[in-house]
């Protein structure tokens, strides 16, 4: 009697759990898995919303691979990612180390560093467009006042990509800084004291204590950063439109152009699938890393 009552209660609990699970499954299926599957389908089709789509095999992949902008877009995205790793890792990490040393007004500086994250990305891009103006722009005015050489920033093919990396770093470093700061604060003070007793200078303490102790967080953030920066879109779309001379055309911008300028959803899907495969490698590395940590 008691056993059957327990079974009934357990079944009722399971029904409730499945109810919540169904909702999550429906949302994921409709808004995450279905679009991915649909993207795979579209990449093998010539898409027409009136006549109906037809299967074209690998034609869309051939089309995007033959596009003279294909190599340019991947090179630009890879360079953006590389620059973003160098600047986007170094700056937040150094800022976190600096903030960690502060004894006063730490909360104030934390807010200050995080503030740009709260600005809408389009607003950031438009603001920096003005900052970057060769004449009358904030950056060149400041450089001129300090008697330093000015730059053409986004007005030159040789400096446009790095200019966008600076904007992206400024806008997004707040989150990484806070995560690094949290990791730094978990390092036991005794380790630094021991290192100091052993005569380690600041650089050696950083290299032999701080970096090993935060290695997991650094690696995790670097992988996430690669996945995010390979998909950079807002900055080139709003600030340069991919120019000058295609120097800021990224993979995502090219996908956007295929889909919404030339209305070629097949090519856009094929390019998206290629991007998905590349990012899949980094995502697998990320999952492997976090899983090994859990174990």
């Amino acid at each position: 009697m008691a056993a059957s009552a327990t079974r009934r209660r357990r079944r009722a609990e399971n029904v409730t759990a499945y109810g919540f699970l169904c909702a999550a499954l429906v949302v994921f299926a409709v808004f995450a898995w279905y679009p991915v599957l649909r993207n795979v389908t579209l990449s093998f089709q010539e898409v027409n919303f009136v006549r109906g789509s037809s299967w074209v095999g690998l034609d869309n992949f051939r089309k995007v691979l033959d596009d003279p902008l294909f190599a340019t877009a991947w090179r630009n995205s890879a360079l953006f990612t590389l620059y973003a790793l160098v600047i986007g890792f170094g700056v937040p990490f150094a800022t976190a180390v600096l903030l960690n040393e502060f004894r006063h007004a730490r909360a104030y500086f934390r807010v200050l560093v995080y503030l740009p994250v709260m600005l809408p990305p389009v607003v950031v891009a438009l603001m920096w467009r003005w900052f970057y103006q060769p004449e009358g722009g904030l950056i060149n005015e400041l450089l001129s006042a300090a008697h330093l050489p000015t730059s053409q920033w986004t007005n030159s093919a040789s400096t446009s990509l790095i200019s966008l990396v600076i904007v992206s770093t400024w806008a997004n470093m707040g989150t990484a800084t806070l995560i690094y700061l949290a990791a730094l604060q978990t390092i036991p003070g005794e380790l630094y004291e021991s290192a100091e007793l052993d005569g380690a200078n600041l650089w050696r303490r950083l290299w032999h204590v701080t970096v090993p102790q935060t290695r997991f967080v650094i690696l995790m953030l670097l992988l996430l950063q690669v996945i995010a920066t390979m998909q950079v879109f807002t900055e080139p779309f709003v600030m340069t439109g991919g120019g000058p001379k295609d120097s800021t055309v990224t993979v995502m911008l090219l996908i956007y152009r295929y889909a919404f300028v030339t209305n070629d959803f097949g090519a856009a899907s094929a390019m998206s699938l290629l991007l998905l495969l590349v990012l899949g490698v980094f995502s697998a590395a990320y999952l492997r890393l976090t899983r090994s940590r859990q174990i």
Binding site: R51, P68, Q133, N155, P244, K245
Partner: protein, 457 residues
């Protein structure tokens, strides 16, 4: 609350969450049989001005009401907005595209190719005044077999827009604007000499507008952007005339310093500078005049419009309407009745001019309510006479443009215009952002890309 009541509530919550997740999926579809329910033909149309433009919205709604009064069998359902390329395909896919939709001249070729617009050829015989429209404008809405898929409602050719006040201050004659690209360079240098942030000449260079302007400028030298090669199209812009044109532009930017330093600008950015009285000249169509006055604080007294320098050709641009491929026969007929009454209707022109005057809107320019769509003949002459009679803007400031218009050959945009413009953006950006740009290499590279584009299509 008892434990059981709590459990029931939790289960109810689980069911509700699932239902909420599924509900939106079930409510996405809609049916449209083209009838209003009261026997009238229902026609969803776009082109309604936004609520922020109260005056234009009032005029539009009054026109809709007037049409419905005189055509009681048609129910117009207006929708705000014009052509948004970014959302067009998704609206087609979602079945949200209106029965009658607005397009720019750059759009019809692709829309016809994709089958998103109805073939209206067999319905056109009885549409009044359509045979009076310039044939090259109708061609924009035709396929290779001459079947028609839309109606042109406005046409703009490009010209040289200039600031008369800056010309005077620079010692130039505002009634004798530059007629060649070399004269543009000289005038730009003179205007830039004024200083105080004033530039002599401005160019758009981003969002495909650099390619659009370069196309207009290549046409002005008598050149072509693309030529037919049998059944195919080939790039045709890599010529000595184009190289000379770009060398002139490069000299303005880097030798004369008459174009300022910020070059990665959209046309809107250049218009802001023009409206603020900080720019001597730019390439623009006549519809830029009211935009400059209304949105950017310009004044008709200070603005002038001249024909394209060199004057061997000009880019025809414009707008029109197409009809949804899914429209019924009744809807196509109703749509053509509306479009003819609203846009291709000289019988209503004088009333609309008077309305514009009452609303203190510009009259006398080659734009609605007197768009330049008419072929040589009685209708064109009548509209010109009305313009002369009712003009409330200094028409003499644009008279050189208007006088030259019939004699300058108008050329339509190249096939796959937006993609070609994206490639040509690079040429414009290269010349304007690199001091030692190799014009020949830029053109070679662009030609290769455009040919690849045509090969792929």
């Amino acid at each position: 609350m008892t434990f059981h009541a709590y459990r029931r509530r939790v289960r109810l919550a689980a069911a509700s969450v699932t239902a909420l997740a599924v509900l939106p999926l079930a409510s996405c579809s809609s049916g449209d049989d083209g009838e209003s329910g009261d026997g009238r033909v229902r026609l969803d149309i776009n082109g309604q001005p936004p609520g922020t433009d109260a005056r234009e919205l009032r005029i539009f709604n009054a026109e809709v009401a007037r049409f419905e009064e005189s055509h009681p069998d048609i129910d117009l359902v207006p929708h705000e907005g014009f052509m948004e390329p970014e959302t067009f395909s998704t609206r087609v896919a979602g079945g949200d595209l209106e029965d009658v939709f607005y397009v720019y001249f750059t759009d019809p070729a692709q829309i016809i190719e994709q089958g998103y617009a109805a073939d209206i050829t067999d319905y056109l015989a009885d549409v009044p005044y359509l045979d009076q429209v310039r044939p090259e404008l109708n061609e924009v809405f035709q396929d290779a077999e001459g079947r028609q898929y839309g109606i042109p409602t406005a046409n703009y050719s490009m010209g040289l827009l200039y600031n008369r006040e800056l010309f005077e201050r620079a010692g130039l004659d505002p009634d004798a604007p530059p007629t060649t690209w070399e004269e543009v360079r000289q005038a730009a240098a003179a205007v830039a000499e004024l200083g105080g942030g004033v530039d002599g000449y401005g160019e758009c260079a981003t969002e495909n507008t650099g390619g659009w302007h370069l196309t207009a400028e290549i046409y002005s030298t008598g050149g072509q952007v693309a030529d037919r090669d049998g059944e195919d199209w080939r790039a045709a812009f890599d010529t000595q005339a184009t190289r000379d044109l770009l060398d002139n532009l490069r000299a303005m930017r880097w030798e004369d310093d008459s174009m300022g330093s910020d070059q990665m600008r959209s046309c809107e950015d250049v218009m802001v500078q023009m409206g603020a009285g900080q720019l001597g000249m730019m390439i623009a169509a006549p519809d830029a005049l009211p935009t400059l006055v209304r949105q950017y604080d310009g004044s008709y007294e200070n603005l002038g419009l001249a024909p394209m320098p060199d004057g061997r050709g000009t880019l025809l641009g414009g707008e029109g309407y197409m009809i949804n491929a899914g429209a019924s026969e009744e809807q196509i007929e109703a749509a053509l009745t509306w479009l003819q009454w609203r846009f291709v209707n000289p019988e209503e022109t004088e009333r609309r001019i008077r309305q514009r005057l009452e609303d203190d809107q510009p009259v006398g320019l080659p734009m609605p309510p007197t768009p330049d769509i008419w072929a040589e003949g009685r209708v064109r002459d009548d509209i010109a006479a009305l313009n002369e009679r009712y003009a409330n803007v200094p028409v003499e400031h644009v008279s050189s443009f208007m006088d030259a218009a019939p004699s300058i050959p108008g050329r339509i945009e190249p096939p796959r215009a937006q993609e070609v413009y994206a490639v040509l953006d690079n040429v414009m950006q290269g010349v304007l952002t690199e001091r030692n740009a190799d014009v020949g290499a830029l053109l070679d590279e662009a030609e290769e890309q455009v040919n690849h584009l045509y090969d792929a299509s």
